[in-house]
Amino acid sequence: MNEITRRETTTPETADRERRSETLLPAVDIHEGDNAVEIVADMPGVTPDTLCIEVDNGVLSLEGEVSLAMPEGLSPLYAEVRAQRYARRFTLSREIDSEAISARIDNGVVHLTLPRKDSHRRRRIEVQAA
């Protein structure tokens, strides 16, 4: 009968650390327009409050926590999503104006707009008639 009883060996601390290390890699689309680079990432279950976007030393990090209101005592039957955090990092080119990055999240889809610095924008050069 011993095998049937539930073992409670993991302490909350190790469980917490394990949960931290378990991350999902969100799928992204990256497009480039004339004046900005656009990143679109799928992060279902992430709310504006649990989404964290940081730029540090030319690296953009996109992290989010799945926050779903699940009832107490929910036991899993089947699962394909097996972690609660998304994380992905991008190295930014020097052309990007990191001060002007903007983001929004809409139905679990994150849209990031990374504008180019003014000096790197495409500009038209007038051709003078000779």
Binding site: G45, P76, N107
Partner: protein
């Protein structure tokens, strides 16, 4: 929550999802190793959980709205189908990455018997569709009184 789900899969190395994804990108179409596993990149991903009085299905469908997702149940098989629009291409010069799914999809999961389909509810929260399927009365846990002899 679903944090303890990794216990379901003893062969999975922890923290190596990125490597698995890399391998899947390099060698697509490698056969499924587990009878319950799905090919990587399936859309949408589905979690199923159970409480004492209901079965809850979580469909991770980012960017979809109520009108884009069709949920139906027949013979204890739940089918979710729909279509996710391709991203609009205006003002795009170069495309560096295209990992997100777009197009038509349809996925089915088998549910336990004895659910009360008529009282089922589905709701969207932040790109996750939660479907609550209450258990019928005979399936709910019941306490059995122990009689003194």
């Amino acid at each position: 929550m679903f944090g303890d789900l990794k216990g379901l899969d003893p062969t999975r190395a922890q923290g190596l999802e990125w490597f698995q994804q890399l391998l899947d990108e390099m060698f697509p179409g490698s056969g499924a190793a587990d009878i319950r596993s799905v090919p990587h990149g399936s859309f949408p991903l589905i979690n199923v959980g159970r409480t004492d009085d209901a079965v809850r299905v979580y469909v991770f469908a980012p960017g979809l709205g109520t009108s884009d997702l069709e949920v139906s149940i027949q013979d204890s098989v739940l089918t979710v189908s729909g279509r996710r629009q391709a991203p609009d291409d205006e003002a795009t010069q170069t495309r560096f990455r295209q990992e997100r799914f777009h197009g038509d999809f349809s996925r089915a999961v088998a549910l336990p018997e004895g659910l009360d389909i008529d009282r089922a509810e589905a709701r969207f929260h932040h790109g996750v569709c939660e479907i609550v399927l209450p258990k019928s009365e005979e399936l709910k846990p019941r306490r059995i009184e122990v009689q003194a002899s």
